[in-house]
């Protein structure tokens, strides 16, 4: 049996659920088993949001990832990545945006926060919003993040993720599909550089 448990997180409105939808689509295309728990409702209003995504070649029971069970944390925001640390497996990886979203008065010190993050065994962090903007894709920062995370999701081949992006965004038109595919490639190439 091979499996991967992914904790997706961020702040309401950052596009976490779109990442989850693409991964769900890719898992379906690959014939993998999947469970994906989402947060809807009150917490979506600028609060912390997260989604538990479990992929496996064998049947999956729990919709939720147990403590210490997440092979990967994928986060749109650095403090939100830290929030789920107790869920990270001992040798799990964290792929996160490094840009703080400060919408609370008591946001922690940025330097301390990033050094706590960097002290973890496997961390890839990048200012995905800046990268997305520089690449002319300001609305696709979440797909940049997915591209960064892709090398850590061995169960889903890169080509399969591309197909999933195309399918998920197809109803929004070809331009949106292209932008998201490009953002994914940008993220993927950054991941390669940063990981080296």
């Amino acid at each position: 049996m091979s499996k991967i448990d992914i904790k997706l997180c961020g702040v309401g409105g950052q596009g976490i659920l779109s990442i989850a939808t693409v991964l769900g689509e890719a898992a379906t295309l690959s014939g993998l088993q999947l469970k994906q728990a989402e947060v809807h409702g009150m917490s979506q209003r600028g609060g912390d949001v997260q989604s538990d995504l479990r992929l496996s070649t064998a049947p999956i029971w729990s919709d939720l990832i147990p403590l210490g069970g997440a092979d990967l944390i994928v986060s749109m925001e650095p403090m939100e990545a830290l929030r789920y640390l107790p869920y990270l497996a001992p040798d799990g990886a964290v792929v996160t945006s490094s840009r703080p979203l400060v919408n609370i008065p008591n946001y922690p010190d940025e330097t301390a926060l990033l050094s706590e993050l960097d002290a973890l065994p496997h961390v890839v962090r990048l200012d995905i919003e800046a990268v997305a903007r520089e690449s002319g894709l300001p609305k696709s920062a979440n797909m940049v993040l997915l591209g960064m995370a892709a090398p850590y999701i061995g169960l889903l081949p890169e080509e399969c993720l591309r197909q999933a992006i195309a399918r998920v965004f197809s109803r929004k038109g070809e331009a949106v599909v292209e932008a998201n595919l490009k953002a994914f490639s940008v993220g993927l190439s950054h991941s390669m550089t940063v990981s080296k």
């Binding site: 379906t28 088993q33 994906q36 947060v39 809807h40 917490s43 538990d52 147990p66 403590l67 919408n103």
Partner: protein
Amino acid sequence: MSEKRLLLGDEAVALGALYAGLSGVYAYPGTPSTEITEYIQQSPLARERGVRSRWCTNEKTAMEAALGMSYAGKRALVCMKHVGMNVCADAFVNAAVTGVKGGLVVLAADDPSMHSSQNEQDSRFYGRFAMVPILEPSCQQEAFDMVADAFALSESLRLPVLMRLVTRLAHSRAAVQIGAPLPQNAFDPDDERTRWVLLPGNAKRQYASLVAKQEEIGSRAGTSPRNTLSLGEKGGLGVIAAGIGHNYVREVLPAGVSVLKLSQYPLPASQVRSLAAHCGRILVVEDGQPFAEEQVRALLGPDYPVQGRLDGPLPRTGELTPDCVAAALGVGGAAPHAPALNLAARPPQLCQGCGHRDVYAALNRVVEEFPGARVFGDIGCYTLGALPPFRAIDSCVDMGASITMAKGAADAGLRPAIAVIGDSTFTHSGMTGLLDAVNDRSAITVIISDNLTTAMTGGQDSAGTHKYEAICLALGVEREHLHVVVPLPANMEEITRILREEIAYEGVSVIIPQRECMQTLGRKLRQKKQQS
């Protein structure tokens, strides 16, 4: 014809109902149940079949309309969040007394851990109270399959059937195997007046017949393929795993443990006895309140060791997690990473540019001038006005309670007594309270913060849009004490002036700040852009 679709638990229920020949869904939005009705509203099959799906004013109107559709022979579904059961309880309990004709399924989505709710009441108690069958799926596939079972059971027993979800199933996605859709029922109104007219003479007969059905309802649960017993080591641990609790148990199931999977109630007493006889002790794992646990304890007596939420192995409050279930089964471990140090809570907040913000800014400015003032809040996005930076409301209890609590406090002498209620909440449960206040000439100031939508649950249509002035006037609010304003920083002077004047008035005044929700507006603009 068979295919797999990736569906939320809510969507699995919706599609299951459509494939079971549904003719109408009746619902008021409420997390975590909203996506059921939304799915049906967007379903091509529902459109093709003319399935009725517009939002209702509240859960009681929904329940009654569904009963009417059932009366006419068609299959109907009612959906709500758990606290909605309180609103429709009158109709729900009495629908068990009249019985049904077309299948009637009542779906309650419970919210243990209160992710988006004010309590964690367990809807299964309502099912037992009304003496109807209860179904509780453990996964998305079972949710899909079970709806068809529920409609068939409802028609065969001529009773409403309660189906219960919890947040983690309602809002979790998995692949669901879909078969072929069943045809809808023919239009065939009932004509048995003696069972539908609940005058005491008829009601006594109907109630006796409901009581007489209990044995049959029990035996259906006792033989249900949804309740499965798998025996392990003799004399070892037996687990009764209800609904989604079954998943957490199976996630870590230690060898030799016996499991009774529980998905249909009343509690299957003979299976519980078999499990007890085989095992030396029992652990009850259920999400929500200790509904089955109390019954299992009563059934097995004080000498049989039963554990669960009531005595500590599982927490008394909050939703189940794979971690607390693993710990109760003795296989839990510590998390490898300690909680982070550089971490702060990030509560939800009103969107930037939201009209509710301007309402609270104005209200706070005026309320400051009246040290005894109290602001009675209500249920919706604007409840977030309780949090910083506004800290603007003193209460939030249940749908509509802002107006009636302000009225009661004003009756007791509190001045100024101010109510803040949203547009959708006002039509849901605020109108009747406003009529009470008008009839009593209560000294209250009511703010109906109208954003033209049901915003908190994702922007569903609000039942009274463009009708609020007319409704208030018709309820007897005086024209000169009814104001419509546009909540924008530019209008702050006007709004605060009106607030001051109306607070001084010893009677009912209503102020309607009216500006469309930023989210709904944004979505409409995006849709327009896509279409052009």
